[in-house]
């Protein structure tokens, strides 16, 4: 059944492989995926190790519902100590890797040590082999996957791999699977690189027995009909996340020229409609009807004829407005290159945008940038910097170190311009008019991020009744809520609720787009509970799933605290408080975050979590969540 998948401990230094079952008790406490990953990380990693040393522990996993009849049950989770932030490293991706890992018999891989020479793992129906990867070391992520499939003579093998950026230990190198999917954030690719691990290839033909097949089919169909009937789904099916840009830019919620403006004058050049002449359709991840992955062909220039997938909303900012560019082909080429090199598109674009503001302000000059004119709107400079970062050449070597270390190299005066939290750059979104979104990026466990807790539906001005229906369950909440996204009232609860929702989703292994993220009508805790029961037989009530999420999130907090995190790390860059937004709709223009109100909101957020005023979980909450004895070393 879906619960009999195993855990494998792989020591790359000694070559030892140990395979064990996963106790039901741990399933009930953490489900799987991201939840069980943080348990394993907390139990297996010594505090304070260098994230790029052989002592770091890499976790690769599938959520507990992956491969089953839960909607888009496709997600792979990757975790380790982050070489970018020094806190929790955690990244989640779609595609077809995780279902294949389960069909091959495994749910969790715990990878330790460092291989002497480049290797890849070959996992096939319960067996794991460490194979030589010297011939593919240096290859991009597309060629790597083709080469492994050729070597194994099997087109159906699914592969997770790194590109040259991961090999060069770029601190925000990602892991990739297929043409489109990336475990983008927190530098998990660099951890693979530091272990000389080029890829993990999986293939399996083992049953995942569905507990109640007829019921599971019926419930899945019901949810699919619910999802596909939403406007959100219909728009995503056509444009993917690129559709978001027009709305957020019109309102004034995007970063332009790093953080100088909050609206792009030439946005129509890079809005979703401009993909049309390059688009060759859309693709879906495993079991997904939203199929938001764009497929495109670059039409002109030196990349003419190149097929690629994407770009997402993130890349529209990263190689568009954030760096002051207005050329769709720059976005398409940039997206293709970061995917091939295995770089996080978001971090790459944000750091280039930061460097451009430094250059325009004279804080860095041609001498620092190897002569590259890092001016906003210089398309060639953007593309050139992508190459240099991935190869760690010249100034690229500075940016490849990520925000905190790059600030250290460039100098203190550069710090003010860098839009990061906990050492990870922010999305190209401007949260000065949206306190709930601001609180989300300030508190997210892996650093500034929109996929940890963003209450995106706060932007819809939903009626209070609907907000109550969503945010006052499955745990009780009788505090205030507000439909106004500029408000500070009740926003801490919205952030906490979304945090628990996304954590639950990451433990289950389904996609966030099928839940209450961008549409209020999609799956929630009750649906998670039903999916779990019909597919696995595990009967876990909605409020207990919340508790699992709370436990896993709190353990991430404990992990971060063990690595030195304090309250001051849950804070925004000064510019959010000091510089009002210059553009946007009237209700957005002139907005900045109020320090006092933000502090109060942060206090509320801690209180909702049962953390003290320093953001440290109290003994009481640890006991309630059965975390008081961690690490327990059950696995």
């Amino acid at each position: 059944m879906a619960l009999n998948r195993k855990i494998a401990y792989i020591d790359l230094t000694t070559g030892e492989i140990d395979i064990k079952p996963i106790p039901l008790k741990l399933r009930e406490l953490y489900l799987g995926g991201r939840g069980l990953d943080v348990y394993l990380l907390y139990n297996h990693l010594r505090a304070g190790v260098d994230a790029l040393s052989s002592e770091n522990v890499l976790l690769v996993s599938a959520g507990i519902l992956v491969g089953t009849l839960a909607s888009a049950s496709t997600r792979t989770h990757v975790a380790a100590k982050s070489p970018l932030t020094g806190f929790i490293g955690s990244s989640n991706m779609g595609g077809f890797f995780a279902p294949e890992l389960r069909w091959a018999g495994f749910d969790h891989l715990v990878i330790k040590g460092k291989a002497e020479k480049p290797v890849y793992l070959w996992i096939n129906n319960g067996k794991i082999e460490i194979r030589n990867a010297e011939n593919i070391w240096g290859e991009g992520t597309y060629n790597t996957q083709t080469a492994i499939r050729e070597e194994l003579s099997d087109d159906e093998v699914q592969i997770m791999c790194i590109g040259p950026a991961g090999e060069k230990l770029v601190r925000f190198a990602n892991v990739r699977t297929g043409y489109k999917n990336s475990g983008g954030r927190t530098g998990m690719g660099a951890v693979l690189g530091s272990k000389n691990l080029k890829a993990i290839a999986v293939r399996g033909t083992m049953d995942i027995n569905i507990k109640y097949p007829d019921k599971a089919l019926e419930y899945n169909k019901k949810i699919i009909d619910r999802i596909t009937s939403t406007k959100f789904c219909q728009i995503m099916q056509k444009w993917g996340t690129m559709f978001i840009y027009g709305v957020t830019n019109t309102t004034g919620l995007v970063r332009v020229n790093n953080f100088q403006l909050n609206q792009h004058k030439f946005s129509e050049d890079i809005e979703c409609e401009s993909i049309e002449k390059y688009s060759v359709g859309t693709a879906g991840c495993f079991g997904c009807q939203i199929h938001c992955r764009g497929k495109y062909v670059i039409r002109t220039g030196s990349y003419a004829g190149t097929y690629s997938e994407g770009p997402e909303y993130t890349s529209q900012g990263a190689f568009g407005a954030e760096v002051g560019c207005r050329n769709m082909e720059t976005i398409l080429i940039g997206n293709h290159l970061v995917n091939d090199y295995g770089l996080d598109t978001l971090e790459t674009g944000s750091l280039i945008a930061w460097a451009m503001e430094l250059y325009e302000n004279g804080i860095i000059t041609d001498r620092d940038t190897d002569g590259i004119k890092l001016r906003f709107g210089n398309d060639n400079a953007v593309i050139e910097m992508i190459h240099k970062i991935a190869k760690r050449e010249g100034f690229g070597d500075v940016l490849a170190e990520g925000p905190v270390r790059a600030i250290g190299k460039i100098g203190k005066e550069s710090e003010r311009y860098c839009i990061h939290v906990k050492g990870m750059s922010n999305l190209h979104s401007d949260e000065r008019a949206t306190p709930s979104l601001a609180l989300g990026i300030a508190t997210a466990s892996r650093g500034s991020d929109h996929l940890r807790s963003r209450p995106a539906i706060d932007l819809y001005h939903l009626p209070l009744e609907l907000l109550k229906k969503i945010y006052c369950q499955p745990t009780p909440y009788d505090g205030p809520l507000s439909s106004d996204y500029r408000d500070y009232t009740g926003k801490a609860r919205m952030v906490q609720w979304q945090e628990m929702c996304y954590e639950a989703v990451d433990c289950l292994g389904v996609c966030k787009y099928h839940t209450i993220f961008l549409s209020p009508n999609l799956m929630n805790f009750e649906d998670f509970s039903n999916f779990l029961f019909y597919n696995t037989g595990l009967k876990i009530e909605p409020e207990k799933i919340w508790e699992v999420a709370d436990r896993a999130y709190t353990l991430e907090r404990l992990f971060n605290i063990r690595e030195g995190l304090t309250r001051k790390d849950d804070w925004l860059p000064d510019r959010y408080f000091d510089e009002p937004t210059p553009l946007g709709l009237d209700i957005v223009k002139g907005k900045k975050i109020d320090r006092k109100k933000f502090k109060k909101m942060l206090d509320e957020y801690y209180e909702l979590h049962g953390w003290d005023e320093n953001g440290v979980p109290t003994a009481e909450i640890l006991e309630k969540l059965s975390l008081d004895k961690e690490p327990t070393h059950i696995l």
């Binding site: 069909w103 297929g178 033909t205 089919l217 899945n220 699919i224 879906g284 997904c288």
Partner: protein, 159 residues
Amino acid sequence: MAKMIVVDHIKCTGCRNCELVCSVRNTGASNPSRARINVIKWESEGFYFPMLCQQCQNPACMAVCPKDAISKDDNLGRVVIDYNLCIGCQLCVAACPFGCMSVDTVENRVIKCELCDGDPECVKFCDSKAIDYIEADIVTLKKKRAAIEKFSELMKRLA
């Protein structure tokens, strides 16, 4: 008139939900290697094609079966296996030009799409309608209409 499965590969998003629901419906387990349908992909070109039994007029599998275990069911327009007669020689697997007579390695027997007795699960779950199950005459009429649509529009403009 019997219905038939129609594949429109342009609409296929490659999500493989058809493989999932097919294997669950027919085996109770999620396992694409036991599905009667498989999406064949050329990933580097973004080209996907769902492959399943074509329910041939003159089935090669039926022709080579030494025990006459494979027959046509004109009522549902399908080719079916009688497992009481099948000896598992797998000559049908060798004969099928499409690879759509497969082997279920768990139950150790040959398997093929039998249209879920007239209510194909894959079709129900294919939201993009890359696979459909419709009357055979309508299939070709629809294709005729689509093929000539440009011409018809041109005529309207000239009129």
